[in-house]
Symmetry: none
Subunit: 402 residues, 2 copies
């Protein structure tokens, strides 16, 4: 039962209470074949266990039951936005992911450096997986391209991947990809899917033609392919919806970019969780909502490194007392999706969720684990419902009706 | 949180994994007044209990919380179709139920044989509950009726019930019933609810007039009443939505008909559960989704025979190992609705649901019963969500978003 935005706009009230949404990326896993225990069941996490005992708990479906989410949809859900309604397209997510601040009306596309033969046919869609260093040099060259009536920006992602952004009046993202997806064929021309997209298609094709010229001697990266043209989604801001003054503490650009899309201020922090909690403490009086993001758990899961994921959880556990010491009115510890080490991928499984607050009557669970939290009083629920619960327990929602 | 069809169409992928959806009709009951135990709690079901221990479990609301479903809506939900959106009207369900293959544009109506007096007033809406044998003879007579511009089909259901199908161009089901619902009044003329239905109303009234002639000497079944005019619903097929190659193993025509409506292939099987499992084994390599339907549990419940329902569950239990021996990637054991013996009716109670799969972390429940499965990690959820979970655990859904 998702709360419509209209209701949040109507009922949310500005109060001094403070919320910390602590997102452990890829939280939760699957049993190790030899022990039958998950990463969380294996890790020694006395502080998280105590948190589970003193919280209301449950598990969330990030997008819909059975659906494995990408990072974009999974985070938007936690912030209260239905990711089926607010899709961050591939190009826009790439732009956001490199820390580029998309403006309304911008159109971004994912770029692959590729190799083409003398007949112009693609022979390698990833240009031999060039280094990020080479990528940066080639991006410098692409930045010299000039198009009539629009600004263009080109940014390195990593390896063979980059992103291009078009900025100007009346651009459209209703365009086909130039990436043919297979080798042995030439890149496709970008085509307009609607009449209104004709001009943007011409601009994209002009960019591709100039790129071919600029890169012609740069074998193996002598061409680019473009895909996933996308405008930034029109997301109402969290301050508009919830009357919050939100801040984000995240190291990785993509999560900082997602936070920016929903109107969070980005706080500077170092690279470690200790740095992040330091930044939280330093800024604690200045905001009333903090999104704190930890990435290492997801990376360990994607690497298939069960033991490292266990170690990451044990490390995170050491920092839980520091979070509680700040006495946030609501502390939520959850994930955006599971990344089980045995799968090496994001998964569709429900994600652990614990909410600690003055009036959250503890479920008295015995451990912070997938199975144990699933027994909590919140049950299994859509991640999109989390903001309703958070706002409620923060006493930031007025009564509905007389 | 139901998955919109668009998302299934976008994300579903063809893979070799196999799914068995084992539907025990009327699964789940209510406590016996003298023992306080339900049928499932009374039955000795070691294999189902072991399944509950090794599955993720929960209970489903077939249509909406508190709503008692008919067989049509309850099955459509399990196949992923919202039965409020895709209603199989009374006439269409009757046609489907006798194994008649409705075509798009057909209009079907439920028929009651009835008794009318000399003034044409209905004296018995069920014609003294004539035998199915008599019904068949009368249906033969009704098949002689000819209408201008349309084909008509008449099929026996059972007892006093039959079904008539009109086939031709531009027919409408926006018609009122001829059944007056009370005795002492003449049958009502069929009336068009929209101008476009005028011609179909005339055809229906012409059919009724001819039926009165044909049957006039067949006391007590000297008239028919028509109700529930309905076209077949436009259901996107399961292969279109889920990229599955689905097959149905069901004995009763209605369930075969429902399976046909969503595009399943109907497999031949004998009349017993052993026959059905034999058919499953024989066809296991040829399809990737199997709907296996068991009827006896529902019949025992509708007969109010608590002990027989217990015995049916114990019999079903014996066949669970054979299902597991096939090593389906996902095995779901559930029901379409409860049919508690003490009610002798379908009920509104949530229905036991267990999902067994490689990456389904067992809830370790102690028994396959209503109370125990309600404690499972899936919680209580709409039956319509089952296909999302099934597709997720079968790893047949691509990741949503980047």
């Amino acid at each position: 039962m998702i709360i419509p935005f209209e209701l949040f706009r109507e009922l949310s009230i500005k109060t001094p209470s403070r919320i910390v949404l602590f997102v452990i990326d890829g939280l939760g896993g699957l049993p190790h074949p030899s022990t039958g225990k998950t990463e969380l069941e294996t890790a020694r996490t006395p502080n998280l266990d105590a948190l589970a005992a003193s919280s209301v708990c449950g598990v969330t479906d990030p997008v819909r039951p059975g659906i494995t989410p990408g990072s974009g949809p999974a985070h938007l859900s936690l912030f209260g936005y239905d990711p089926l309604q607010y899709l961050v397209g591939r190009g826009a997510l790439s732009a956001v992911g490199v820390g580029f601040h998309l403006q309304p009306g911008d159109v971004a596309a994912r770029v692959n450096f590729a190799t083409v033969d003398e007949q112009g046919r693609v022979t390698d869609r990833r240009a031999g997986r060039i280094s990020t260093e080479t990528n940066r040099k080639l991006v410098e060259m692409l930045r010299r391209i000039k198009l009539p009536g629009v600004e263009t920006f080109v940014e390195t992602e990593s390896g063979h991947r980059a992103v291009v952004i078009f900025r100007g009046p009346e651009l459209s993202d209703e365009l086909t990809d130039s990436d043919p997806q297979v080798v042995g064929q030439p890149p496709k021309p970008v085509e307009a899917l609607t009449p209104a997209a004709q001009r943007t298609a011409q601009l994209a094709n002009e960019f591709l033609a100039q790129a071919a010229q600029v890169l012609k001697d740069q074998h193996p990266a002598n061409m680019i392919l473009m895909r996933g043209f996308a405008k930034p989604p029109h997301l109402p801001s969290m301050s508009e919806l919830y009357k919050l003054t939100p801040a984000a503490i995240a190291v990785y650009p993509m999560y900082r970019g997602l936070a920016k899309l929903v109107g969070m201020e980005l706080l500077d922090a170092g690279n470690t969780l200790a740095d992040e909690i330091h930044a939280l403490r330093d800024n604690f009086e200045r905001y009333d909502f903090f999104f704190v993001h930890v990435k290492a758990s997801d990376t360990a899961g994607e690497d298939g490194d069960f033991d490292r994921k266990v170690a990451v959880m044990e490390d995170i556990d050491q920092h839980i007392p520091a979070l509680l010491d700040l006495k946030p009115d609501v502390l939520v510890v959850t994930g955006d999706h599971r990344t089980p080490s045995v799968l090496r991928l994001h998964s569709w499984h429900p994600v652990p969720f614990a909410l600690h607050a003055q009036y959250a009557v503890p479920d008295r669970l015995s451990a912070f684990s997938e199975r144990e939290l699933a027994r909590g009083s919140l049950g299994r629920f859509p991640a999109m419902e989390a903001m309703g619960l958070i706002m409620g327990y923060a006493q930031k929602l007025a009564r509905y009706g007389a």
